[in-house]
């Protein structure tokens, strides 16, 4: 019953998104909405590894950028259509995720986090020295003419609606299944979980791969969205900080946490960028993040739970 309800809700969101996209409201709303939805995917993907399994990934930008650059490569090479770009971006980032999954065999806690950050910089250096995809000076991507419906902004917006629903569904399914319970067990104590027969390595590999896949999926439409990609924008540390901040603010233990965080913080940032300045909105993210880890470590969902409990 619940799965059916969830599926229906998901379909409703997608249909709603398409309807919204075909409405003739201000184009900027789609443009800003895309960013918020992209953060829903990014934060949800981050949370599958960071929240459920407790492995904090600082290299979110690397996975995102790898998705974007896989897309650029395929556009440059064979003019591949959007669905292929998204799938390929996800697969390549998923493979990288599998790689860092094996890293978890040796690296726990902070060492894992530092390693992912290092990975991000190494990848950025490789891309900066790879001239085929633009190198350090970046690359201009030309959108092919005649999108399926509407214009490119509304099309990309609709695609992102679908991706966000898919990402949240995946997170929801993981949470409800034995996979989620296993991940929770290994988050609390890896040794104890292993002793109880939880296949920790397989679960960790699954979590890193799915998380990487979804981050790559989020990055794949990025070249068409901005039409000009340079390594410093695709590998921007903002993605890592935002993914972390959004999940932490919403609450990391449930699928709804990152969604709440992404919608709140993402929208706040979009508003702040227009009304104040983009530098100041980053400052807000930093301050809110620190305030939440200090004052409400369980996030908004934790506050809600505590309020209900009393």
């Amino acid at each position: 019953m619940r799965t059916g309800g969830g599926l229906l809700a998901g379909l409703a969101v997608i249909v709603g998104g398409i309807l919204l996209a075909s409405l003739g409201v201000n184009q900027y709303l789609y443009f800003a909405g895309y960013v918020v939805l992209q953060y829903v995917v990014v934060a949800t993907a981050w949370n599958i590894l960071g929240g459920y399994a407790g492995y904090v990934n600082f290299g979110t930008s690397a996975f995102f950028a790898l998705g974007a650059y896989t897309a650029i490569f395929l556009i440059e090479a064979v003019q591949a259509p959007l669905p292929v770009l998204i799938l390929a971006g996800g697969l390549v980032s998923g493979l990288l995720g599998l790689g860092i999954g094996y890293l978890t065999l040796r690296l726990k806690g902070v060492f894992f986090s530092i390693a992912t950050l290092a990975l991000s910089v190494v990848l950025q250096t490789l891309i900066m020295n790879w001239d085929y995809v633009g190198g350090a000076k970046g690359v201009t991507v030309i959108r092919p003419g005649g999108p399926l419906f509407g214009n490119w902004v509304t099309l990309l917006f609709t695609v992102m609606v679908g991706l966000a629903v898919a990402a949240v569904t995946v997170a929801w399914l993981i949470e409800r299944s034995w996979v989620g319970r296993g991940l929770t067990a290994l988050r609390d104590s890896e040794e104890a979980a292993e002793c109880m027969g939880v296949p920790t390595l397989r679960l960790k590999l699954l979590a890193t791969t799915i998380s990487g896949f979804l981050l790559g999926v989020a990055g794949a439409p990025f070249p068409y969205y901005v039409t000009y990609v340079e390594p410093s924008s695709a590998f921007n540390l903002d993605y890592a900080v935002n993914a972390l901040a959004m999940s932490m603010i919403g609450g990391t233990t449930t699928w709804i946490g990152p969604v709440i965080g992404a919608v709140l913080l993402g929208t706040a940032q979009q508003v702040a960028t227009v009304t104040i300045s983009s530098e100041l909105n980053l400052l807000i993210v930093g301050v809110v993040l620190v305030a939440f880890v200090v004052l409400a470590p369980e996030g908004i969902m934790g506050l809600v739970r505590r309020a209900r409990g009393r």
Binding site: L103, V121, V122, T125, L237, L283
Partner: protein, 290 residues
């Protein structure tokens, strides 16, 4: 194409750079290596020190390194305050590892964005009489702007080593790293000791920031280049080993310098992070691990 002159120059420049890298990493060696506080915001405090030196240099014409030395008490207090906040929010509740990491990540971000709000994202540099001069030793040119930070870096390493091995508080810091409970039983307060150590770490960061701005112009986001470097050096040197930090810093400096000379500067950053990844994957205890 290969020339011995080029190689000699690259190695000398790398060793000098390594002395400076040691200065940048000492604080992390102390806070992360000995206290287990993952101060990932350390490079941001370094850049804060750079901008402090820049501000004093541009408005009063003060020597950047002298400014760095004069400002260390201020940064010591700042570091102590940050540690008190960290302790009160995380360590006392026993949830330091991941949330503490996120906390410092946020602090890094706040410092960086505050600096770019205040000073913009243009490159800032300092002026001092020794910048731009160089000494020539039989075909090997030594830039004085690298030599001075190298000397200060060595002095800082020696001073920290002596402090940790000869003084009461230094030994207490080492004791905290080994056994917190035993230290408490001896009548010393581990929180106070850790506050002192953290303050020293941040003070060292600010001084090395003054060295950094002497070597090259800085922007607020320069700190990101140093996250990998300082952690690579600290991990490679064996967590908490001061001598190991110096050796690792010089290895990294030479490796980067060779890479920049023979393959181009755009590859040099990958060296530190590559070494870090390799060390983490193969030998997480480093060369001189405890």
């Amino acid at each position: 194409m290969f020339s011995w002159d080029l190689l000699a120059n690259a190695v000398v420049a790398g060793v000098l750079l390594g002395g400076f890298y040691a200065a940048v990493s000492l604080g992390v060696s102390l806070t992360f290596g000995l206290l287990d506080v993952v101060n990932i915001a350390h490079p941001a405090f370094v850049i804060l020190g750079s901008y402090a030196a820049y501000a004093m240099n541009s408005s009063f014409g003060l020597d950047p390194i002298l400014t760095g030395v004069l400002l260390t008490p201020l940064f010591y207090v700042l570091g102590a305050a940050v540690y008190q906040m960290y302790y009160g929010s995380f360590e006392r509740r026993g949830e330091e590892s991941l949330r503490g990491l996120v906390f410092f990540f946020g602090v890094l971000f706040i410092i960086e964005v505050s600096l770019s709000l205040t000073y913009g994202v243009d490159y800032r540099l300092v002026e001092a009489p020794y910048i731009g001069k160089s000494i020539n030793l039989g075909g090997v040119g030594i830039a004085v702007r690298l030599l001075v930070p190298f000397a200060v870096g060595l002095a800082m390493t020696l001073a920290l080593h002596l402090f940790l091995s000869r003084t009461f508080y230094g030994r207490a810091i080492k004791a905290v790293a080994q056994d917190r409970l035993a230290l408490r039983l001896m009548g010393a307060n581990p929180v106070q000791i850790k506050t002192i150590a953290f303050g020293i770490g941040i003070a060292a960061a600010s001084l090395s920031g003054a060295l950094l701005v002497t070597i090259a112009p800085v922007v607020p986001s320069t700190d990101r280049d140093y996250i990998g470097r300082v952690f690579a050096i600290t991990v490679l040197g064996g967590l908490g080993s001061i001598g190991g930090t110096l050796v690792a810093a010089i290895i990294l400096g030479v490796a980067e310098s060779l890479m920049a000379t023979f393959f181009g500067p755009s590859w040099s950053l990958a060296v530190s992070f590559g070494i870090l990844l390799l060390v983490l994957a193969v030998r997480p205890t480093g060369l001189f691990g405890r």
